[in-house]
Subunit: 454 residues, 2 copies
């Protein structure tokens, strides 16, 4: 074999023992979630109807690290540590002096990073005596991860799947059902929130969240599980970045830039937060770049503002970049990125100038995805294809400046369930669906009353 | 974490340096391939129109081990060594004293074991100056593996995909196209063999092979690549069994029985041959069990006889169990197992009583697959679901006899492209398609003239 490593693998003993909680590192005063009724900071009591205390404690934790329960690490062992790859073939194809690394999460049974949070969420709910979990899913990655985790912890699972994805990705539904979950097309007629938004037939993550929250709030044996946005979800995903940090050490390099796609933000948080902590502590100069779809450009076009996490306005108000909770993103194939807001921590770091953001259209992201598949072999999901598009831009700029830049990005899932999108791209029928400025402006006019943010 | 390992992982340095060639170990006189025109043993010259000399040398190799080229090991590094799992959750669900291990090949970029042979085949053809490879594919696993390998070695690729699978698994086609291959539905109108068998609209591997061989034989810059059956393909897959042997040593156990599904036989060969060698050398008492579909029961219902490898009768005659080269298997979802014959080496070992065979129907295999997915998490392809069905039977018999039996089986691919089949099973519409005895008998009447086998 050549002595050029392409893959960095850690032993099972290196699965992190703790999650990274970035809360205590954040610059400035925190902007806590607010109870929409009182305008006061939402406390644990606002969350107990839908979350178990174990997760609420993680959500509001102030320790820099939170221990991972043994039962969760035992399940992580099934696919973790995940591999880090050096994209040598892509580097050569781009003729760039940049060194490109990617952390690949597609090897989990659900094919994405989502089980990293689904497993601890199912575990904490099981421990609390809950019988069933309700959730939403966009492209189906979170829903299938939760269905998997529920089957491993013997919980029932009901999933509200965004209509556009339900139609585009029928096999994700079958996957959830194979793991024993019940799947509804959202908006559905099983909830008030669904019946109210029946005119948005393509659905949105915001509507699907409202449906799942409504089901959980109305049944004492059912809790809700969210696949992104919240602090505890971002925290669960930091196993990715911690492993990547060890693997970059094996490679003898430090990333100059960390790139990930952002929908709700948990994938981006998971890879970047351990590196962001280093930067905040003055131990690195790394840059951070969030790649999002031009059809749902929350970080590049949204406002930084308190808003609801769901469309029906059932959640606490979150401090975040938002296009307005009533904004319904167009039905792009990267269903996991069709969310009107972003994780508060990620939003705060963008606001503070620590994370940059860039938006790309469907065709240019699929062009990047096909280029990646044909050089590196792995066929990426449409969501991380946004990150790949940004990586190619960085690598090309490194070529122009002659810089040996070290790029690390998150390849958070494979695209085996997204072949209809590839089909559309390859046959020239994929649309660069336009972002509707008018719809965003209308949605921004319907933002809830809340204190302004700095 | 608990100290019960569920996964055994090898470092990159443990990727095998050699393939296992079982030929010199086989009992009795060899039954070589025959030239159908002369009835004489087919020599390398019979193969040069469609194979490069590097692969022909591997096909007829008599050394017990054949070195793996560095360029091939460099590509193997992308997903090898593959993990070995202990199925502790399945064991508990079955309440069995058996210890169940599985070697998982679904982590390759194509989602199956097939790239283990596609890569060395593409490499040897590239080295020989070939411009394009033509092949057949059933469920799409071999075709996508070859498309991947061709993209990595910069070769053109044309794939004849069995009609039934082309219709059932459109996304496998998109996957091949994403890697740059051209895909035809077989029987197609692009070849004489396809036009002759146009009445078999569901197609078969035998017809698709004829089409691909015809294309390769008619174009000096195009070679043919076969995904199973031949000695060199079985040999390439032995990286699986060699790694599994090391991993079983890590677990401190020896398999009492090795189980795999059999279509053409390369998956079964890959896992079992290193263990078969031990048995033939008197170093183990392990049993071997081949699981096949009741709808295409070559090993359990076929005759041991010289027959063509393809439907049109273009290949040398192979000594194997066959249902007759004109037998067209019904369109079951395990497309990779729809082949009228079996690898000559596997067939010879079945004939010699070293390998047992068992056949299962679609519904019982999917029942086993769902049970596996809900306990172990990984969602199996329909092909290895046959092996899982056999494993459950073995584990249940171990429970009845109170034996601590050690079972090793091959989980040769994930089922992410087979969700329509799961859908049919879960909704109760999956058919136990019948094997047609009349069709087999008719096909057996049309076997070619050839010497009888012992």
């Amino acid at each position: 074999m050549s002595d050029e490593p392409v893959k960095y693998v850690l032993p099972e003993s290196e699965i992190p023992t703790h999650w990274v909680n970035l809360m205590p590192d954040l610059p400035g005063d925190p902007s806590p979630p607010l109870n929409p009724g009182t305008g006061e900071p939402a406390g644990p009591d606002d969350l107990t109807p839908i979350f178990p205390m174990g997760l609420i404690q993680q959500e509001v934790a102030t320790d820099p690290e939170v221990e991972i329960p043994d039962e969760v690490r035992d399940v992580y062992k099934r696919w973790r540590p995940s591999p880090l790859f050096r994209a040598r073939r892509l580097e050569r194809a781009l003729d760039t002096p940049a060194h490109i690394y990617y952390k690949y999460e597609g090897g989990s049974p659900a094919g994405s990073h989502k089980p990293n949070s689904a497993v601890p969420q199912a575990y904490e709910n099981k421990k609390a005596g809950v019988r069933r979990l309700a959730t939403e899913t966009g492209a189906g990655q979170w829903g299938s991860a939760l269905a998997l985790a529920c089957s491993l912890f013997d919980l029932d699972c009901v999933v509200y799947m965004v209509g556009a994805s339900y139609d585009q990705k029928p096999y994700r539904r079958s996957m959830m059902e194979t793991w024993g979950a019940t799947v509804h097309r959202s908006p559905s007629d099983t909830t008030e929130a669904g019946r109210t938004h029946v005119e948005h037939q393509s659905g949105s993550l915001g509507i699907a969240i409202s449906e799942a929250v409504e089901v959980a709030a109305g049944d004492s044996e059912t809790n809700y599980a969210l696949g992104s946005v919240l602090n505890h979800v971002c925290m669960h995903q930091t196993v990715i970045g911690q492993e990547a940090m060890r693997q970059m050490e094996m490679a003898g390099e430090e990333p100059d830039i960390v790139i990930g796609c952002v929908g709700g933000g948990s994938n981006f948080a998971g890879l970047s937060f351990p590196f962001v902590r280093r930067r905040l502590r003055g131990e690195s100069e790394a840059r951070f770049l969030a790649a999002e779809p031009a059809a749902c450009p929350t970080l590049t076009r949204g406002v930084y503002r308190y808003d609801f996490g769901d469309t029906a306005g059932m959640t606490p108000l979150l401090a975040m970049y938002t296009l307005g909770h009533e904004f319904v993103p167009p039905p792009i194939h990267a269903g996991g990125l069709r969310y009107h807001g972003d994780a508060p921590i990620v939003s705060g770091l963008v606001r503070a100038g620590l994370i940059d953001a860039v938006a790309y259209r469907q065709n240019e992201t699929f062009e990047a995805a096909v280029r990646f598949a044909r050089t590196e072999g792995i066929l990426p999901a449409p969501e991380p294809a946004h990150a790949i598009r940004a990586v190619i831009a960085e690598a090309e700029s490194a070529r122009e400046s002659g810089e040996e830049r070290v790029i690390l990005f998150g390849l958070c899932g494979h695209g085996h369930f997204d072949m209809s999108a590839y089909d559309a791209y390859l046959s020239g029928t994929l649309e660069d669906i336009e972002f509707s400025e008018a719809e965003m402006e209308a949605a921004l006019e319907r933002l809830p009353e809340a204190p302004a943010l700095a």
